[in-house]
């Protein structure tokens, strides 16, 4: 390979140079979204900031006060839910936080931008924006990290806290682009494809938009992306204790951030089965018993979580699972899911023009066909094993979205690196190697154009021009 031409140094130096350029470009691109997305325009942002705010004030994500009969005479539902989760919270502190959030939302035109937000004047609780909504049911890691940093940096005002959490999101976005770069190199030795994969993830508009909003989705995708990378490495090079421990830690962190992190368990488990099966057979009986015990303990922990969680994302009965799957199979669900994955604004109340959505969906369908061809017949430089891991990740993530029963495109974002690699290889992989540079250039140009349409003809207008009176 001629990658030393870039800097005149060795191959590693050339790769690092390209990596640095791509990361710098991604930083600037994420920064553009960070700057342009107005305050509180990330979905559920006020509730995530509320939770992190209480943690920053020294409260734990445990030890809350259970809800009792009659409590609804004292507080609204969103207030009772945050009191139930966060320890030591007094009613006045909860009320003051929500009023500070509402004041900031009023100052930044939240009600003019979000079409279902009913009326700004006189709202005193977040239930007057969305009834009974909360982030208190979410796993605690995002709030512990975000709230801990806010406490360390002594950022007290809710608006400043939101901007800091958004800064964390920008870093998380870069971490996902970096993981994609690494994963793409493992999936394909063609540098044009590698580059296009990283750019796809960096320039996918709804992902770049996540660089500018505060919620726990932005953190879980980091853990998912890097655990997928480790799973691929374990499958390629064998399982080491260190790699397994890091992968397990990443999966645990993902699960401690959001339930959508569970999909990352699938590629890690697949890698363990693929590489670990024979090794397990060679273990001494005592260690084998230990291994079986550990797996059973994990299964028991998962069952205990399933039985004990109050997270509405987790279906609790078989009937509920069936109902959610039926919902996910409906055309309305698919339409809403694709709309919010391709481009939706102002808390999903507005979307990209239908023609743009159709063209992008058409290209994704074309990539699906190309991917089928790549799986059927080997292509030079493409590792189908790694692609299989990416496919497992995407399928697992999609299954979680279906089980969640809520059609929001952001729930697929933890699998975006895997999806991006599949799409790019689906489009470029079937081509002869000499045609790939031109095709990669065209793909990047198409990404730029999609991003331009998203940012300048949709996001800008919906956020700054089309205001409700």
């Amino acid at each position: 390979m001629t990658d030393n031409l870039a800097t005149g140094g060795g191959p590693g130096a050339g790769r690092r140079h390209a990596w640095r350029l791509v990361m710098l470009a991604a930083l600037l691109h994420g920064l553009a979204y960070f700057l342009l997305l107005p305050a509180w325009m990330g979905e559920d942002e006020p509730w995530h900031v509320e939770y992190a705010h209480h943690v920053a004030n020294g409260h734990g994500t445990w030890g809350g006060e259970a809800m009792r009969f009659g409590d609804r005479e004292l507080m609204s539902l969103s207030q009772l839910q945050i009191r139930r989760k966060v320890g030591g919270l007094e009613g006045e502190e909860i009320r003051n936080t929500q009023e500070a959030l509402l004041d900031s939302m009023r100052e930044h035109g939240f009600w003019a931008r979000v079409d279902w937000a009913p009326w700004p004047v006189g709202a005193q609780t977040l239930d007057q924006v969305v009834e009974a909504h909360t982030a208190a049911h979410q796993p605690p890691l995002y709030y512990l990290v975000g709230g801990g940093l806010l406490r360390l940096l002594r950022i007290d005002e809710v608006e400043g806290q939101m901007w800091f959490l958004r800064g964390m999101s920008l870093a998380a976005y870069l971490a996902v682009v970096a993981a994609t770069f690494g994963l793409a190199r493992r999936a394909c030795s063609d540098p044009w494809i590698t580059l296009a994969c990283a750019l796809f993830v960096a320039w996918w508009p709804m992902h770049a938009r996540q660089a500018g909003l505060a919620n726990n989705d932005v953190l879980v995708k980091v853990f998912s992306a890097w655990s997928l990378l480790l799973a691929v490495d374990m499958a390629r090079s064998g399982i080491t204790t260190r790699a397994l421990a890091i992968a397990a830690a990443l999966c645990a962190c993902g699960l401690a951030t959001k339930t959508t992190g569970a999909a990352a368990l699938a590629p890690v488990a697949l890698a363990c089965l693929w590489r670990g099966g024979r090794r397990a057979q060679r273990l001494r009986p005592g260690r084998r018993v230990l291994l079986v015990g550990a797996i059973l303990a994990l299964a028991a922990a998962a069952l205990a979580f399933w039985g004990g969680t109050d997270n509405p994302a987790v279906p609790r009965t078989v009937g509920n699972i069936r109902m959610r799957l039926d919902t996910a199979a409906s055309p309305e669900f698919r339409a809403e899911f694709s709309r919010t994955f391709l481009g939706a604004f102002n808390w999903y109340t507005r979307e990209l023009p239908a023609a743009v959505q159709s063209v992008v969906l058409g290209l994704l369908a074309l990539a699906g066909l190309g991917l089928g061809a790549v799986f059927l017949r080997a292509r030079e430089g493409i590792e189908r094993g790694t692609l299989a891991f990416c496919a497992v990740m995407v399928v697992a993530q999609s299954a979680l979205v279906a089980l969640r029963g809520v059609a929001a495109g952001r729930y697929l974002m933890p699998a975006l690196p895997a999806l991006g690699i599949l799409v790019v290889i689906g489009l470029l992989g079937p081509l002869p190697e000499r045609q790939r540079p031109r095709a990669a250039g065209l793909l990047v140009a198409a990404l730029f154009l999609f991003d331009g349409i998203f940012l300048w003809s949709a996001l800008l207008w919906n956020q700054y021009a089309l205001w409700g009176a």
């Binding site: 390979m1 590693g12 390209a18 609804r72 005479e73 331009g452 940012l455 205001w467």
Partner: protein, 364 residues
């Protein structure tokens, strides 16, 4: 890198940035309404439009060239179609007549849709107040169409249109209980502070035929009502929501109230098995709004608006000024960061293509 190459790369970046930003930007500029009431879902409509007491709406234009008004309507008498006329006046309901536009809205399925009234553009509409009224052309009976109304407040208790008729002369009940609002732990009280209106589903309610009155007491209280509202003679509600608006009750949250409606002969209210179809609204008025509220038979009611949008003809400068006013320096910083990001990627791609080589991303 040679100076020529640098210039070529810079021009290429600029070209791509222009193509990917300005072209989409230009394509978007024709679709910004001058004034728009965005309110989802559409919750309340005012009942079938009346020829004798027409429904109107006031607003202030931001730009020149007012040329079109869309009003959200629902068809309440399926199978019947009729023509509507929009009359545009300067200033208020009694202002000088400026334009007329007639439309036959058609069947309007389901929740209805925006119906468009177009007229010759008003060249000097910038900053001026206007008032429009909707009048059915057939004057012998109420129109089959009803206009959607957005009341100025957060909905608290939000009951759907019921399936049974309740007649007067007096209808009393609790606000809001409805068997503890059909849930296990709901206390069945008023959920928010600043209670400022109660809307009730009504039919054949006509201010000219007699008074319709709402009285509210706090639960357990007796004597003079806490609030008493009588609808004026301008009200005529056929199959719509009647709004009883009063000075806000600041401490209404988690309280229970008792209501009494006194109806004139023939007036009917709509409800469910559990009680009347009622909605409560909470909050206060927005300062500096371009909206002036609705009018009923020429009498203004500033606490609610029709769901509508007005279109004028903003120039590119107008739109740029609007966005710059709202986005400020962030817009410029965003554009710079976005262009530089593309420039870096293009630099990487162009450098590799110029050498006929692959980009340096492959592993060794």
């Amino acid at each position: 890198m040679s100076a020529g190459r640098r210039i070529r790369d810079a021009l290429c970046t600029l070209g791509v940035a222009v193509a990917c930003s300005l072209v989409p930007l230009m394509c978007a500029t024709s679709e910004v309404p001058d004034v728009e009431v965005r309110s989802l879902p559409w919750r309340t409509h005012g009942g079938r439009l009346s020829a004798t007491r027409p429904t109107g709406q006031g607003f202030r234009c931001r730009w020149d060239g007012l040329r079109r008004i869309d009003v959200a309507l629902v068809a309440l008498a399926p199978g019947r179609e009729a023509e509507l006329e929009l009359v545009l006046r300067a200033g208020g309901p009694q202002g000088a007549l400026l334009r007329r536009a007639r439309v036959r809205p058609g069947p309007l399925e389901g929740q209805g849709a925006f119906v468009t009234f177009e007229f010759d553009p008003l060249a000097d509409s910038r900053g001026r107040r206007f008032w429009f009224e909707l009048t059915p052309i057939e004057r012998d009976q109420p129109s089959p169409y009803s206009a959607w109304v957005r009341f100025h407040g957060q909905p608290g208790h939000d009951c759907a249109w019921g399936d049974r008729i309740l007649t007067g002369p007096v209808i009393e009940g609790p606000l809001v209980d409805l068997e503890k609002v059909w849930s296990q732990q709901d206390p069945g009280n008023v959920p928010h502070p600043h209670l400022r209106a109660v809307a009730v589903a009504a039919d054949h309610l006509d201010g000219a035929l007699g008074a319709t009155r709402l009285e509210l007491w706090e639960e357990g209280a007796s004597g003079a009502p806490l609030r008493a509202v009588e609808l004026g003679a301008e009200h005529e509600v056929h199959g719509g929501w009647a709004f009883f608006s009063f000075p806000p009750i600041a401490d209404s949250r988690w309280k229970r109230y008792r209501f009494r409606f006194s109806l004139h002969e023939g007036a009917r209210l709509v409800g469910l098995e559990q009680g009347l179809s009622l909605k409560t609204f909470h909050g206060g008025e927005l300062p500096d709004s371009p909206l002036a509220g609705i009018s009923l038979g020429g009498v203004p009611h500033a606490d609610r608006d029709l769901v509508f949008r007005a279109w004028s003809a903003p120039s590119a400068d107008d739109l740029t000024a609007l966005i710059v006013e709202r986005a400020g320096w962030k817009l410029v910083a965003c554009a710079i960061a976005w262009t530089l990001a593309m420039g870096l990627v293009l630099r990487l791609l162009l450098a590799r293509r110029a050498r006929g080589a692959a980009p340096p991303t492959a592993g060794s």
